[in-house]
Amino acid sequence: MTSMSARAAPGRTRAARAARRAKTTRRAMLNAAGLVVALLALFPIFWMISTAFKPATEIYSLTPHPLPHHPTLGNFNQVINGQAAGMGLSFWTFARNSLFVTVSAVVLASALSLLAAVAVARFKFRLRTSFLIMLLIVQMIPANALVIPLFLDYRSLNLLDSLIGLIILYAGLALPISIWLLRNFVATVPRELEEAAALDGAGPVRIFWRILFPLVAPGLVAVSTFAFITAWNEFVFALTFLSTQSKYTLPIYVQYFFGRNGASWGPIMAASTLYTIPPVVFFLIVQRRMIGGLVAGSVKG
């Protein structure tokens, strides 16, 4: 806008230049503010990673330095070979448990929520609205209120100290929001597309895979990211249900060796750094679709 008015009135170029300079300064200040904010927000993460590479003497130094003077992989080694927790199991055991539980829960939740979303968005039937409201209420029930009964149920079903039990549970916890988000995606797919395909003689299964599925895929991405983070981070149920050490998931592993020798911050930070990698990688892969999906799926503006 400024440049246009400057060109329109050549006599006021000096004023225009001054205005432009003021705008540039403002911009620079805003950029600087943005930078400071980003740095502040990221600093604890930087500190976590930096601490993970520091030898103990530097971690407990009274004058902390931003970067390790003598960077070491010792903390990571201790975590990976399991020395840090002193239970004779390597990090990979827990990483494998966590990945197995998380990926299975994501697949299960995505499949079930896709089916349900199609039903809710496409077909009219009695109690449909009640079903949708129930989903939201379920999502708001505090997990800790479910811990006791699930503990007792699982105990009688022999699912208590089992990863399968956690998968079943995590998929269930992710379902309500998943269905809710996906249903809006299904609703935005024009019905005419399906009807045209049906006229061309495509069966329901074919219509689903060839028409609906590709269009709903971004929604599935958002849903699976959400389910991934929920399952990967889950703490309460894993803490209460798992008792065999070789079945621990990562959050329980870190809390275990935090509880055992509370002050070994080097290995704890190394473990935290390692745990952060999978969600970040997952998010980087799906990020564009994730945010667009989350918002498009819930807000119509």
Partner: protein
């Protein structure tokens, strides 16, 4: 402003087969819903019914003999229990303050980020990372390297201001836990608001500028109303999750010192794990759920306005 689906996209009212959908067909339509429905009921509804049942029982893990019916006595205990009420209040304080502050910061960040600048993509990706850190890990980063009384970074940075060896987790426990929650949830709020800002039609803003509206007036009159559904979505999702916050409390302060950071989830956890009081915990759980539903109903009213319930569409 958000529009109810039925208004936004006037769904074609002409059905393909308007009359007489057969019973069989109706069931075929419901069929895809059944697995998820049964699943949700099994995982979340049955346990709730079981909780209800136990809430009327006297049942301690550590006392042999199993459960026996005690009527409403567990509920009387819950309502007369000062510890329960205190943890309820703490839960509300924790959730409300962290969600509100995170949303205000998130809006500020989103406004800062909603401009063209070098490396915008990278910054936007980076800024979400606090949200991606496992809450247990985030709690530990803050509990140790950041807030430790001796080698913690915060005390070091505050030394010039005459602060020495403050044990933040003992003296400002509740505040410390809230800070961690705010730190984790601000990025989420930023992203939601940012998505809203990007959906704002540029021509309206341009028009406002031409009409000589100041930045503040434009923000208040145009941007804020446009952002409203996004802000509400952020607050709702944030509240649902933070009301259940457990990891940070368990790992940073273990509910203490004393009961300074014991929120409802942690209180329930203690009832089962330390007091072995299944009946009491179940009753507390039921009361929690009922309170949550009351709060949720208010939220839902908001939801129904903002999101699309299909009654309008038929």
């Amino acid at each position: 402003m958000a529009v109810v689906e039925g208004v936004a996209a006037p769904a074609p009212k002409v059905r393909l087969r308007p009359r007489g959908v057969s019973r069989r067909e109706q069931w075929q339509r419901r069929l895809p819903l059944l697995p998820a429905l049964i699943y949700i009921i099994v995982v979340t509804q049955i346990p709730f019914v079981v909780t209800l049942w136990y809430s009327f029982q006297n049942y301690f893990f550590d006392i042999p003999g199993g459960a026996h019916f005690t009527g409403l006595s567990n509920y009387t205990t819950v309502f007369t229990n000062a510890a329960f009420r205190a943890s309820l209040v703490r839960s509300v304080v924790m959730t409300a303050s962290s969600v509100i502050v995170a949303m205000i910061l998130g809006m500020a960040f989103a406004l800062l980020l909603d401009r063209k600048f070098l490396g915008r993509g990278v910054v936007r990706t980076l800024i979400i990372t606090p949200f991606l850190v496992m809450p247990a890990a985030a709690a530990l980063v803050w509990a140790g390297p950041m807030l430790d009384p001796n080698f913690g970074l915060l005390n070091y940075l505050l030394t010039p201001f005459g602060v020495h060896h403050v044990a933040w987790l003992s003296t400002h426990a509740l505040g410390s836990v809230i800070v961690v929650m705010i730190w984790q949830w601000t990025p989420f709020m930023t992203l939601i608001v940012l998505a809203g800002l990007q959906g704002q039609p540029a021509d309206t803003l341009e028009a406002a500028k031409v009409d000589g509206a100041g930045a503040l007036a434009t923000f208040r009159e145009l941007t804020l109303p446009h952002l409203r559904p996004y802000i509400e979505l952020g607050i709702l999702l944030g509240s649902i999750y933070l009301v259940n916050a457990f990891d940070a409390v368990r790992l940073m302060t273990n509910g203490g010192p004393g009961t300074a950071t014991t929120n409802l989830p942690f209180y329930l956890y203690q009832q089962v794990n330390y007091a072995f009081d299944v009946g009491g915990a179940a009753a507390a759980g039921v009361v929690t759920v009922i309170l949550t539903i009351i709060v949720a109903t208010f939220a839902l009213r908001m939801f129904a306005r903002v999101f699309q319930f299909d009654e309008a569409a038929g």
